[in-house]
Amino acid sequence: MTAPLVESPATTRTLGGKYLTFVLANEEYAFEILTVHEIIGIMAVTPVPHSHPVIRGVVNLRGKVIPIVDLRRRFNMTPPPEGETPETCIIVLNVRNLLVGIAVDAVSEVRMINEAEIEPPPSFGSDVDTSCLLGVANSEGKVRMLLDADKVLALDVIATL
């Protein structure tokens, strides 16, 4: 009822702007700051039986029940060897008006990334899924993968399981 009727597809916009960067298995990733709703500390996750394997479970976000997607499972990575650390946290994203939490190893910073620093996603061969990358940012000697939140989550089909 409150949902906007038309959501403009993100095809023609420019990629430069502010990003929230975070660490996952020693690699740096980033979400556009506009998709980030808030960052919360890691909390006890309730597993949901019969849900999709990439969904780790649900948590209580101030009275709302929101799902937590396990980004490591999504990218077919092994669980962190050291387990959860004080740095582990949950980035809550707002994707198509749905709140979804993503557990990451650590949040780094909010960073301005210029259009000029962004290159199209390279091809790693078919072993690595690059479809969910907006691009790769190369600045100050560091490479950060810019993630397309919508494609990473593909919530509309995961949810129906």
Binding site: V6, V48, P49, H50, K64, V65, N76, S131, C132
Partner: protein, 692 residues
């Protein structure tokens, strides 16, 4: 980057030899790429996501089971290919609510001659949305007033109510540029104005025309959202002729009457009943509160989502407060002042909770007002004479329940008029007054709401129900069945069929669906009946769905909430009371009955739970033939919980109705007992294999 297609995924799948993990990883990446591609139709993407779920499930690829896992992946891919082929490109439009703008001009050209309910481009959407709600309210008020007028055609206040409704709708709609609605409301207002001025008597065709005008306005108002979405709907066929009839009510007698046209061919209704001379109006509405002018009460309109959010936040506050009260520092008796302050805050929070829950409560009136109209129409059509009375319409229930009650009530009323009340001649023969009575009584009993529908018709006929149930194959013999059990058969799936319920309404769901919907609301239905005297249908519902009394159970390391209303009893079984059938299906003997055992940790895939049935607790759930014993590790206690959906991002998960925040702030999942029972019946052989 070249776009991948399903064929690429199939190629990767073919490359997957057992044991080749690299190939499987490659397949997985391709599948994800396709799943994230919103240009593919969603059934395809769902099937591909299924395939990933199989790939990601470590249990599927353990040693010898790997071939089975690959087979499951193959099946999922096949489903995707099927969807891709049958849907081809036609269905592969993105699922985003894309407004099909290009269709509009086309439609407009094709039907240039028909009028459309158009919305001006510069219209203020929020104003129009307000108008929809307001118009509905007024039309309902007008309908109630018209029903009052049927018994008292001189009721000037009622005529004013109807006039005011048409007048206000005309004014607001013309201000908003909804010219089709404004034009029609104008004709209706004109006619009522003449009645008000005494130029025209509220008799003959006038009542019928007024009812039809209300109906048409309802249809138009209901079509506004569609028009807002960019697809202006056509005006109903009745629009023109009815507008004309309203301006010339004297000659309207000749106009075709939409309602009688569609009436069933067989039994012709008695012509006198269709003719609305007020002295023998078929329905007399005798509601307790006569004047219900919507403007009289000092009310504030609040958006429902804001209200829900407020109630939700108060629920959170209660939980936070509970955590505070239970904190060690507060409980430590040494700090007397702190304890006192916390107790004070606690009291306020509890009061706030009661208040906020009260905000969601609305009178049942909304669901009941419409019924008077249904009774009137049905009685007119079948030539019956019925008095419909209502008591307790101010009983308050949760807002969501009012909507959910509408269908069951409609069914019950239809049933009472169609099958309960006899025709006047039959009634006279049976020594009853020609005028039948249908009475609706709503009341509150503790934390439950009772809605009773009482008729003085012929009552349920045991023999007929039994004969029909045998004919439909629901039972083979009714020898040992009590009357209550026989009456319950009308709720059995497949009993009430189209010819029975839809003749009058043209649509409708079966009684089995009605009962299932009521059960989902944690409600019950009871029927009692006496041949020749009439029947009583009772619906019993909780006051609110917002709060569930739940039993918190432990299964392995997880906690689940089982609605207390669904639990019959709990017990710890003797090892000697547990049996198996064919070495698989487990059963337990208790209190003289034998029940199948469902191990919740298997149904919910929880590891680390008790395996031995005699080491856990068995919880008996379900009704009648569906009674089942759930095995849990431990009962942790009862708690009132606020049920919440798991969120659109997760959607509906099998076996769960939602989640709730537990006392420690974590989410507990609420079990869907009925679904778990049904699922366990369906896959009993599969669980048997695991048990072996």
């Amino acid at each position: 980057m070249a776009t991948l297609t399903i064929d690429d995924a199939i190629a990767a799948f073919v490359a997957c030899e057992p044991g080749d993990e690299a190939a499987r990883r490659k397949l997985r990446e391709r599948l994800w790429t396709l799943v994230a591609d919103r240009s593919l139709a969603s059934p395809i993407r769902t099937a591909l996501a299924d395939a990933i779920a199989v790939l990601d499930d470590p249990a599927e690829f353990k040693g010898a089971k790997e071939a089975d896992g690959l087979e499951k992946v193959r099946q999922a891919l096949e489903v995707a290919v099927d969807h891709a082929e049958c849907g081809d490109r036609a269905v592969s439009e993105p699922e985003v609510p894309s407004v099909p703008k290009e269709f509009v001009p086309e439609a407009a050209v094709a039907r240039a001659s028909t009028m459309l309910l158009a919305i001006p481009d510069d219209a203020d959407r929020s104003l129009i949305e307000d108008f929809i709600a307001e118009a509905r309210e007024y039309l309902e008020g007008a309908e109630a007033a018209l029903l009052r007028l049927e018994s008292a055609p001189d009721d000037g206040e009622a005529i004013n109510d109807v006039f005011r409704a048409f007048h206000t709708i005309k004014g607001t709609s013309s201000f908003l540029g909804l010219s089709a609605i404004a034009g029609f409301a104008h004709h209706a207002e004109d006619m009522l104005d003449r009645v008000r001025a005494g130029e025209l008597a509220f008799a003959g065709q006038v009542p019928e025309l007024s009812f039809r005008a209300v109906d048409l306005l309802k249809t138009l108002v209901a079509a506004i959202p569609q028009a807002l979405a960019g697809q202006a709907p056509e005006l109903p066929d009745e629009y023109e002729p009815l507008s004309h009839a309203l301006s010339h009510p004297e000659e309207a007698a000749a106009a075709p009457r939409a309602r009688t046209v569609e009436s069933e061919g067989g039994s012709a209704p008695e012509p006198t009943a269709a003719d609305h001379a007020p002295d023998h109006a078929p329905v007399v509405m005798r509601a307790g509160t006569a004047a219900s002018v919507p403007t009289a009460d000092p009310l504030v309109k609040v958006r429902t989502d804001k209200l829900d959010r407020l109630v939700e936040m108060v629920g959170e506050l209660v939980i936070a407060q509970t955590m505070l009260v239970q904190d060690g520092v507060v409980r430590d008796a040494s700090n007397h002042h702190l304890a006192q302050k916390v107790r004070h805050a606690d009291k306020i929070v509890r009061e706030l909770q009661d208040l906020s829950l009260g905000l969601r409560m609305v009178p049942l009136k909304g669901a009941i007002t419409k019924l008077a109209r249904v009774v009137r129409d049905l009685a007119t059509r079948s030539g019956k004479q019925i008095t419909f009375t209502v008591a307790g319409e101010d009983t308050e229930v949760d807002r969501t329940l009012v909507d959910l009650l509408a269908d069951p009530l409609l069914h019950m009323v239809r049933n009472a008029v169609d099958h309960g009340i006899e025709t006047p001649s039959e009634r006279l023969k049976a020594g009853k007054p020609a005028m039948g009575t249908v009475r609706l009584e709503a009341s509150q009993a503790g934390d439950r709401v009772l809605v009773k529908l009482i008729d003085d018709g012929r009552g349920l006929q045991r023999d007929k129900i039994v004969a029909k149930a045998i004919e439909k194959g629901i039972i083979t013999s009714a020898e040992s069945m009590s009357d209550t059990e026989v009456f319950d058969l009308i709720f059995a799936p497949g009993f009430s069929t189209a010819e029975q319920v839809t003749e009058v309404s043209g649509r409708g769901v079966g009684m089995d669906v009605v009962r299932r919907n009521l059960m989902a609301m944690r409600g019950r239905t009871v029927i009692s009946s006496k041949a020749g005297k009439g029947s009583v249908f009772t619906i019993e519902l909780p006051l609110t769905l917002a709060i569930t009394d739940g039993m918190i159970v432990r299964v392995g390391a997880e906690r689940f909430i089982v609605p207390t209303a669904q639990i019959r009893r709990c017990f710890r079984p003797e090892p000697s009371a547990v049996f198996t059938a064919q070495g698989k299906g487990e059963m337990v003997q208790t209190a003289g009955e034998v029940l199948p055992v469902v191990r919740l940790h298997r149904a919910l895939r929880v590891v680390g739970a008790q395996e031995g049935v005699d080491q856990g607790i068995l919880m008996v759930v379900g009704d009648g033939n569906n009674r089942t014993a759930f095995l849990v590790d431990e009962l942790l206690g009862q708690q009132q919980v606020v049920a919440k959906p798991l969120g659109d991002a997760i959607g509906r998960v099998q076996g769960l109705t939602g989640g709730a925040i537990l006392g420690d702030g974590r989410v507990g999942l609420i079990l869907d007992v009925d679904e778990l029972v049904v699922a366990s019946r369906g896959t009993s052989s599969a669980t048997g294999v695991q048990a072996a």
